[in-house]
């Protein structure tokens, strides 16, 4: 086994390499945040050819699917979110334990995060707060425009890091903006902390109590180690807490924040929000836009004040009406009605299917696969409970993470067994479908969710 071999060499050169592997093995959980970390190479078994490929593949597939299995019940989620990201800009962020450095990695990831966040939460807002030298500074105000935040992240002056961070100042600053947010939107803070210390002007526990009281959820990603006060902050405010072990793990922790969380309080009322649906216009002569003051040929016309704006979603610069389009609202639906998880097909039931329903990739036949390999690997087939079509692991992942449609269920005559569909048939269904000039018997914009 390759890894064994290498470990042998390491032990031979133990004078040179001072990382003592054996002590790690005896005391697996050196740090509290490493408890979940298993030595995955210890569970590997070679197959009869001495190859690890099959086992490694199935481990990879398992890891892929782990992220998939999530709650598919239609629950109420905070679709309209208000999130402040607190970025530690102290000298601790210059550490190079995350490559190239904590700070530059954070900025790179945040750019991707912001793009992805607005992709999945199109009518939400983000604000950025930086903290350094004992002070907190707002890098951007709460806004729904991703380009604005990304531009701020690229500014040189925000990327300097020195001094000590101040957690309390940063939280108070974010709180002061979030308390004005209307009740139908969620209030969230995400703290990215590289430092192990904080210099605060007062008692941090008072701030935490205030956050809890104001119904603000604070999640923390620590880059160095678990800090008690950060953990306390997140547990008190029902947020999540994680310590980044490496670059990939850091990214995973960060991106876990993206799907909208279930609303935990019944207090959050369902409000009606006034929104404008501007139509796009093309003009033959260029006119000034209201947002940049530039001459442009086309744009979106605010239905209330007739100002021309370059892009939606945004707030009208003149009359502050929230401007969205119907596809943007539709983009949030998959959070409300996710695709059912697929079930794994075992080797003994695998004979009936030969290829993935959606991508036409052929499966390994159980008759051509030896018993030993079957014992250590999965059949690589995943079945939808509703339409009983079988998919490969790649499609399973793609369908649940990106597409949010089950191709099998869609390509059948409408199933009557789908409970969600049955439920929503009766209830009022939201509608953003533009009126379709169609000869269908049903009302044009009445549709069935699912």
């Amino acid at each position: 086994m390759a890894t064994n071999g290498r470990r042998q060499i390491d032990e031979d050169d133990e004078d040179i390499i001072d990382v003592d592997d054996s002590s790690l093995q005896n005391n697996q959980a050196n740090y509290a945040w490493e408890e979940e970390y298993k030595r995955s190479w210890d569970v590997l078994q070679e197959d009869e050819h001495g190859s690890l490929a099959g086992v490694v593949n199935s481990l990879q597939q398992k890891a892929k699917r782990k992220r998939l299995l999530r709650d598919t019940d239609p629950i109420r989620r905070g679709i309209i979110r208000h999130l402040f990201i607190v970025i530690d800009l102290s000298s601790a962020m210059q550490e190079k334990d995350l490559r190239p450095s904590r700070l530059s990695l954070t900025f790179t990831y945040l750019e991707a995060f912001i793009a992805e966040f607005f992709d999945q939460n199109p009518i939400s807002q983000i604000g950025l707060v930086g903290t350094k030298d004992g002070l907190a500074e707002k890098l951007t105000e709460l806004s729904g425009n991703p380009t604005e935040h990304i531009r701020a992240l690229k500014l040189k002056k925000f990327q300097e890091s020195y001094g000590e961070p101040s957690l309390q100042n940063a939280l108070e600053l974010a709180r002061s903006s979030l308390i004005h947010v209307p009740a139908h939107g969620s209030r969230e803070i995400l703290v990215i902390m590289g430092s192990l210390t904080t210099t605060d002007p007062g008692n941090i526990h008072d701030t935490i109590a205030k956050l809890t009281q104001d119904n603000i959820r604070a999640s923390v990603i620590a880059l160095a180690a678990e800090v008690q006060v950060l953990k306390f902050l997140s547990t008190q405010t029902k947020g999540t807490f994680g310590v980044a072990m490496n670059e990939g793990h850091y990214r995973d922790l960060l991106f876990e924040v993206i799907p909208p969380t279930a609303v935990t309080t019944t207090k959050a009322a369902s409000n009606l929000v006034m929104m404008g649906f501007p139509s796009r216009s093309n003009e033959s002569a260029a006119t000034l836009c209201a947002c940049h003051g530039k001459l442009t040929l086309g744009g979106y016309i605010c239905p209330r004040c007739n100002a021309k704006l370059c892009d939606i979603p945004t707030e009208c610069d003149i009359c502050t009406l929230t401007l969205v389009s119907s596809p943007l609202l539709a983009r949030s639906y998959h959070h409300l009605f996710p695709v059912e998880n697929f079930i794994e097909v075992s080797w003994k039931d695998a004979g009936s299917t030969t290829a993935c329903f959606s991508c036409q990739k052929s499966f390994l036949s159980p008759h051509k696969t030896s018993i030993q390999i079957q014992a250590t690997t999965d059949a690589g087939r995943y079945q939808c409970k509703l339409c009983e079509k079988t998919f490969c692991a790649d499609c399973d992942l793609f369908i649940h993470d990106v597409l949010h449609n089950c191709p099998g269920c869609l390509s059948q005559p409408r199933p009557k067994t789908d409970p969600r569909r049955a439920v929503h048939n009766g209830a009022g269904t939201p509608s953003h479908a533009p009126v379709v000039p169609s000869p269908l018997s049903g009302g044009p914009s009445r549709m069935i969710l699912g």
Binding site: R76, S270, V273, P278, P327, C359, L403, R446
Partner: protein, 299 residues
């Protein structure tokens, strides 16, 4: 789109709407058989464009959607070629594709139709076909390590939009947009297909509604054959007006300024609308109760 180059191979996924209710309608200006001649010529032209151009054809039928080419279990198997009798005068690839598409469609049309609910009639499974196409493209991109495959989707449709397909189609559009896959739409006749118009607009594809269906081949060749790279240098037909407005749930009127529920995202003209309030409330109640149920289970 930005990093496309002239050396990329193109994967073209063609979705053909084979809805017999529309094709065989008395007022239809073009027969499916005639249209297929145009489409096959176009497919061959695509394959002839480059030696490594790839093609997938999906039929969007009434009630079902299925692959016509490549067929299940015949992916990358050279053996499949031997099934068809060889014609020395035809380039092998052309013949394989043409035979697969023709036999596939014939099979679809001969199949005893599954029992359909009334609302299924008259519309085809565009959402399902797009989902299949996107999965196929996802797999193709994965197996191509070099990133040389540039995928695009072409939808040839005759059916009107099916309003129940709205959300699945939107989901397809957003995943295509994310992966930078343009969705081209050719509406062979009939009213504008609003959903597909949005699809083309959002994914930066081309939407064309034919004035004369008999000129199908010409439009296909001139507007839809150019690959993603050459489109940078061509002046292709664009859309002047795309309707992005929402419809009020109760009045079915298109609104400029509406009130959107923060929970279920339904839209209404006015806060006082009674019917909508009832419908919308039952929706929010539904989500809420289910939520409290799950909470109860967890506790």
């Amino acid at each position: 789109m930005k990093d496309s180059s002239a050396n990329d191979s193109n994967l073209l996924v063609i979705v053909i709407d084979t809805n017999p209710f529309e094709w065989e309608h008395a007022s239809s200006p073009l027969r499916l058989n005639d249209a297929l001649q145009h489409i096959l010529a176009f497919m061959n032209a695509h394959l002839a464009g480059r030696h490594d151009n790839k093609l997938a054809v999906i039929a969007s039928h009434v009630g079902v959607s299925s692959f016509l080419y490549p067929k299940l279990n015949e992916v990358d198997q050279p053996g499949s070629k031997q099934q068809t009798r060889k014609n020395a005068n035809v380039y092998q690839n052309f013949q394989v594709v043409n035979d697969a598409v023709l036999t596939g469609i014939a099979k679809l049309l001969q199949d005893p139709r599954p029992t359909l609910e009334e609302k299924d009639l008259g519309s085809s499974k565009i959402a399902a076909s797009l989902s299949l196409g996107l999965c196929y493209i996802n797999q193709a991109l994965k197996s191509d390590g070099m990133g040389h495959i540039k995928p695009r989707i072409l939808v040839l449709t005759v059916s009107p939009d099916s309003s129940s397909d709205y959300i699945p189609i939107m989901n397809c559009i957003f995943s295509a947009q994310k992966a930078n896959i343009p969705i081209d739409v050719c509406k062979i006749w009939g009213e504008d297909a609003v959903f597909l118009q949005q699809a083309a607009h959002i994914t930066e594809g081309i939407y064309i509604r034919l004035d004369d269906p008999h000129g199908l081949l010409q439009i296909l060749m001139f507007s839809f054959l150019p690959d993603v790279f050459s489109r940078n240098y061509l002046c292709l037909p664009g859309q002047d007006q795309v309707d992005f407005r929402a419809a009020c749930f109760c009045h079915k009127k298109i609104v400029d300024i509406g009130y959107v529920c923060s929970v279920c995202l339904s839209t209404s003209i006015a806060t006082s609308s009674k019917t909508w309030r009832q419908g919308h409330c039952s929706e929010s109640k539904l989500i809420k109760t289910q939520h409290s149920n799950t909470n109860g289970n967890m506790n």
